[in-house]
């Protein structure tokens, strides 16, 4: 069993955010002790993990709640859950591509500045001449 603080540290999510997610119904059935303090089980950490995963790909909390609720219903919702996961995976792959592209720009700019510094040049008169192709 873990306190909210331990979960926060373990999962690298702030306590505030965990409480916010809990209030939003994203962690079903987290037990409380005699003093009303949340006790996360390993099972509950599973919920935290999937919520964190869906959030990191940009899924909004309402849609996450829907996925959680589908899980609770049982096997009749497997096809829909499967669809959600598949769609989310596609989204993650797209984000990966996008991130790669932006990384290329950053690489380019970094080496541009490197050269600028090495040659003691300046770019005063064209503050964005480190951007070659303008269209993303």
């Amino acid at each position: 069993m873990y306190t909210i603080k331990e979960v926060a540290k373990l999962m690298n999510v702030s306590e505030h955010t965990l409480r916010f997610w809990a209030k939003s119904g994203l962690f079903p059935g987290v037990k409380r002790d005699a003093n009303n303090i949340r006790q996360f089980s390993d099972h509950d950490l599973g919920w935290v993990k999937i919520v964190k995963c869906l959030r990191s790909v940009g899924t909004d909390n309402k849609s996450i709640k829907r996925y959680i609720d589908l899980c609770l219903v049982g096997d009749s919702t497997i096809p829909e859950r499967f669809g959600i996961i598949k769609a989310t995976r596609i989204k993650a792959l797209q984000q990966m591509e996008e991130l790669k592209k932006q990384l290329e720009l950053l690489d380019y700019k970094e080496s541009y500045y490197e050269e600028l510094i090495r040659n003691n040049k300046n770019d005063k008169y064209n503050p964005v001449n480190d951007i070659k192709e303008a269209v993303s």
Copy 2:
């Protein structure tokens, strides 16, 4: 020259967001025509591109504004700009790693559901048994 609508389409950013960014001072010196309508040049697209890049890595608008302003100052700010780009690149790499990790979970869940459907099993009694290792 491009209208805001064209830029939105070209850069895959909403017109609303472009206006919001413009109002925040993220696009310095975008010209207007006789009817006060913004005319983005290719040079301006460069600004849009770098703003989009920094945003996509999670840089907040205030920090982006700072970077833009540093660009406008000229060569004396090259070291600081270099630092910003380097730090941003590191951040992008970390996000890449994080995304990869989440993608693994999604892959796992997808194949789990696939098997579930193939075998016509159900997971009614343990809605999150598709999560093996709970700790992220």
